[in-house]
Amino acid sequence: MLSIDGALLDFKRLDNLANSDSPIHRLDPRAKVLTTLVFIVAVVSFGRYELSALLPFFVFPAAVIGIADLPAGYIARKVALLCPFALMVAIFNPLFDRAVMLRLGPVGISGGWISCASILLRASLTVGAAIILLAVTGFPAICRALERLGMPPAFAVQLLFLYRYIFVLTEEGGRAARARELRSCGRKGLGMRVYGALLGSLLIRTWQRAERIHMAMLARGFTGAFHTRHTFRFGTRETVFLFGWSALFIFLRFQNLPQLLGTLLTGIVS
């Protein structure tokens, strides 16, 4: 059984990565959030049969992984973990879309297969970018950046609390699930019915905890506004990072680089 605790431990590794130091880590989080956003928009805005034009986009994750010294294998595994979901979305395309669009010698490749591959490629690019953003910025900093960029503070606070207590909640849920499993002696236990009660008690416990947290906040003078002290500095480095990358993404969006190179090469040869 893939344990919840194991997945959680992995989460903590992402957190630890965010605490390391590199030129990318030191950038203002807003620059990183916006750049990632432009990247994702550029990638998903391609037509459904686009394949070759997507490939140059891998330069962004590769560059950030290189500069920030992230463990590439770990990031790849994280992305692979989410790929089955993308596959579920894409798997029916080859069945429904059988018109041949491309011929590689005798083999005809249908539009369905191409759009399926395109979805997978786009999923790994966007999920990869998001995970990398998390690894070089950290969740709390992303929330603060979003808040500074105009997200309502209530949402930012919600997100922060979600991230803080997801660990506590999964631990509690894991304990309850383990207790059930141990007492059902390898059989079905009481079946689905018991999960309803389990979830219910988890909900009530969460509620009670929320009440205690609120108590602790009031005890320390909470009046409704979250004050944090963070110096945000959007300097030259951030500007260069944001506009440099964005310009590249926009260029790659409208110019198919592999095709361009191809015609250039064939032009030279002929």
């Binding site: 602790a216 009031l218 909470f222 002290r229």
Partner: protein, 255 residues
């Protein structure tokens, strides 16, 4: 200095479901005292603590902290004066990093930046946790969490420290460390605990609650000798005062 006084007069609390948690509780704790409130489970200890910083409103009776009666106007000042450390540090540490958590209180007080920083550094140093300031709370061990939880309260420079089960869930070393730490604090201290040996070490005065009423209030050494009283309140002598089960000799308090 009268502002470190805690006075509770005929406090009564009935929960909305009809549970009579506190019936008639009165005591007065003066400046610099270290007092333990003990009692069996469900005796009303937690309910009592929640009144001391105004989280619960008394059904009847009065609470005075320092020179002020506890009411809506005095609540902000009283919450600064009374530093409350909750039983589960996970409830207390809700910010993404230790430093942000410790600065939460001072920032709410509206203090300027350098002052906040000074207080955070000071509070963390006092609980020997300066090296933890950039960590996330869920990366800390139980003992570390507890010490940081205390720092979050110290940074507001309270006059009175109220702690619910401070040694609960700590290993012997962390417990010992915490007791050493608490002994150094000059605040007025109020604890609830089932760890009666800790109470013996830290508190000169004990208040026993039983079914929502004060059953005894006096010097710790005296109360822990009264076996009849303890049994009636579902309590036992501290282990250090019980006979040694292996060699059969009787200890007389702390060695």
């Amino acid at each position: 200095m009268s502002h470190h006084i805690v006075e509770v007069k005929h406090l009564r609390h009935v929960y909305p479901d009809g549970t009579d948690a506190l019936r008639d509780v009165s005591f007065r704790i003066t400046h610099g005292e270290s007092v333990a409130i003990i009692g069996a489970n469900g005796a009303g200890k937690s309910t009592l603590l929640l009144h001391l910083n105004g989280y619960l409103i008394p059904s009847a009776g009065e609470i005075r902290i320092g020179d002020f009666p506890l009411n809506r106007e005095t609540l902000p000042e009283i919450r600064r004066t009374v530093g409350m450390v909750f039983q589960d540090p996970d409830d207390q540490l809700f910010m993404p990093t230790v430093r942000e958590d410790v600065s939460f209180g001072p920032l709410n007080l509206g203090l300027p930046g350098e002052e906040v920083e000074r207080r955070v550094a000071d509070a963390l140093r006092r609980v020997d946790a300066a090296h933890l300031q950039d960590k996330a709370p869920y990366h800390l061990s139980g003992g570390e969490k507890k010490r940081v939880a205390i720092a979050t309260v110290l940074s507001m420079s309270p006059d009175i420290l109220v702690m619910d089960e401070p040694t609960n869930g700590l290993d012997p070393y962390a417990r010992r460390q915490l007791i050493g730490l608490l002994r150094e604090f000059r605040h007025t201290k109020i604890f609830t605990s089932h760890d009666l040996d800790m109470v013996m070490e830290l508190c000169e005065r004990v208040i026993i609650l039983h079914r929502g009423e004060v059953m005894a209030d006096g010097p710790a050494a005296e109360i822990f000798q009264d076996e009849e009283l303890l049994a009636a309140c579902h309590l036992e002598k501290p282990l250090s005062m019980q006979g040694c089960p292996r060699c059969g000799t009787y200890g007389g308090g702390r060695p």
